[in-house]
Subunit: 125 residues, 2 copies
DNA sequence: CTCCAACACGGGTATATACACCTTCCATGG
DNA sequence: CCATGGAAGGTGTATATACCCGTGTTGGAG
């Protein structure tokens, strides 16, 4: 049931972000890049608690969309240095309000008591 | 955060079910088949609130694992009739206790108040 | 200075998931 | 009785995700 609920809620965000051509996972990752840039794939993976290879592939998708740029680390030539592009930053600017509308809408449907409870649960997990 | 939490909890179930060679999605689907058999792909999709094509592919995996059998519907030759195999039923018998141990362990970690709250939230979504 | 263990990525493989489109089959109106 | 619309599946494509293993780089032990 948790998985099903997450899928359903995710699809609401996906539909909201669809006009921008990105989905919820890409939005999340883009925000992480924004917050940590320049950032290595390993650090992104640690932050998002995702497998490194997953991050690598997802970042490549964002790169193909022109939303992030990948360079080699200056010091450590093993590392990638991921940064937002101008287009990536613009996308986040537009996506932010859409995201928040979505969030508000869902929170309204849930009601304040359940929202607080859910936040507390997610903090513990 | 919801997605991340779901991934984390899912991986706990995945590890618990790993000795049986199935994951949480497969376990879920297998339980649906058990409950509804003989069942069409469309009905499984409706029940699980998943795309029909997703169900089709996931059922094919279970079939390859020898846990379900697919036949053509007797009346309507478009329909598939999915049934558990003996091996599928055995797998569920063994998986049930593992699943419940997992559930209990997670509920213990969350605490009874949050468990109740979460159940209520999932019911609403 | 050299060599090796540890680290960062990349690619292979497999599953889960969705959407769009195609084929086949059924059921019904004319 | 037949044509056609709609239902059931299947396939192509794309992304998300994880695990395993290979390659190349770094940094530190000796």
């Amino acid at each position: 049931m948790l998985r099903s609920a997450t899928r359903k809620i995710g699809s609401v965000y996906d539909r909201a972000l669809a006009p921008l051509g990105i989905n919820i996972a890409q939005y999340s990752l883009l925000r992480s890049v924004e917050r940590l840039q320049p950032v290595s794939l390993t650090e992104l993976a640690r932050t998002a608690e995702l497998d490194r290879s997953t991050i690598g592939r997802n970042v490549r998708v964002l790169e193909r969309l022109g939303l992030v740029a990948l360079e080699r680390g200056e010091d450590d030539h093993r590392e990638a240095a991921v940064n937002l592009t101008a287009r990536g930053a613009e996308t986040l600017d537009v996506a932010g309000p859409l995201w928040e509308d979505c969030q508000r809408s869902i929170e309204t449907q849930l009601g304040p008591v359940r929202v607080t409870a859910l936040q507390e649960i997610l903090r513990v997990i």
